[in-house]
Symmetry: C2
Subunit: 215 residues, 2 copies
């Protein structure tokens, strides 16, 4: 009696890597980092646990890959809505801020993921590099937008000033994003983007509330 039903399917390596990464992310978002064990990840991806070591040199490497995937996604989501706005620079900045402070970027799972990874930054050099890269990536985008807005308003700033402004605006957005994700019930739906727009505007010395509406 020959068994014709295949016991498994050979998938392209990239598919498998992606599936494992997604399984890892959903697991961490739902139950925290400590729940992302080799066995749990494999089960969620519907493969045997050996697959992890076959496609990644260690579990740590899978975790790092998952972190980069997650952060890249967040960055893409925010950048996309800024790029989509073809209007004035102020409107683009406003769109960027709003996107950063609205679901799906603001999300309990996202913050949970981010926090979980943050604990690894402490003792993992590779993770530290990854975090640094992501941080500067986001901040530099923000700085470029700010530069354009100031230029547009006829108030060009020195590199030093620009740096300060970018760090400050980045901090507000990060802080709002964080608490919005953790204490999701503590804020009204449009409260966070509203506060974000006002605060970033105040820091830059201009009113962005108008810029956001004409989208």
């Amino acid at each position: 009696m020959s068994d014709n039903t295949p016991k498994f399917k050979r998938e392209p390596a990239e598919h498998r890597r992606e599936a494992l990464i997604n399984a890892t992310l959903s697991l961490i978002a739902e139950k925290g980092v400590q729940a992302a064990t080799v066995r749990a990840i494999a089960a969620r991806a519907d493969v045997s646990q050996g697959m992890i070591r076959h496609h990644f040199s260690s579990k740590e490497e899978l975790i790092t890959a998952a972190y980069e995937h997650h952060m890249d996604r967040l960055t893409d989501l925010t950048s996309a809505s800024a790029d989509a706005d073809s209007g004035a620079a102020a409107a683009q900045l406003a769109a960027f801020v709003v996107a950063s402070l609205t679901p799906p970027v603001v999300d309990a799972g996202s913050v949970s993921l981010w926090a979980g990874f943050l604990t690894k930054v402490h003792d993992d050099q590779q993770m530290r590099d990854s975090h640094e890269r992501t941080y500067y990536n986001f901040r530099n985008r923000l700085e470029a937008l700010i530069a354009a807005v100031l230029e547009e308003a006829g108030q060009p700033a020195t590199p030093q000033q620009l740096r300060y402004l970018a760090i400050a605006c980045n901090a507000v957005i990060d802080g709002l994003w964080l608490e919005g994700g953790i204490l999701s019930g503590a804020f009204a739906p449009d409260e966070l983007p509203e506060i974000g727009i006002r605060s970033v505007g105040a820091i830059l010395g201009m009113d962005l509330t108008k810029a956001g509406q004409q989208t």
Copy 2:
């Protein structure tokens, strides 16, 4: 042959609890949450591992107690420097901001601790309550300071406006504190407090840079 050297010493329960909490905190700050095992904590506190279950009903409870201890200490450090300033309300607020963005509050270990605990917030109700309490505690202090400053400047705000301002200022401080702790090398020593003072001032619509200097 009678052995006169005592094999251990009986300590008041409060001493032991504190010792265990301190051991936990230093361990997490140095090597991350995952290093805070029952055995490691007991070793650092120079007691047997049984002590943990004797003085706390579970390891989780010890972790929670350590979190509250840590956050209370941070809150005390910042509040103290605001209270110490008997001058104008603006000066008190400035002192509060500066203290929040200067060592020992800004510290890699502190952030590491905070991040580690944050991952527990996700699935532990008690931890979630604790986090919420700490957050509102800090924000309410900030809101009171802001109210005083606006009052002083003759620009009283509505409760609604006050709430927005407190959330925004809290967010900048949190964001700066965070990145300052993680990317400690990325900022010059006085950069963070400088940016903090300027940004909070900008959000409130006033110049706090002068207020801070006359301390």
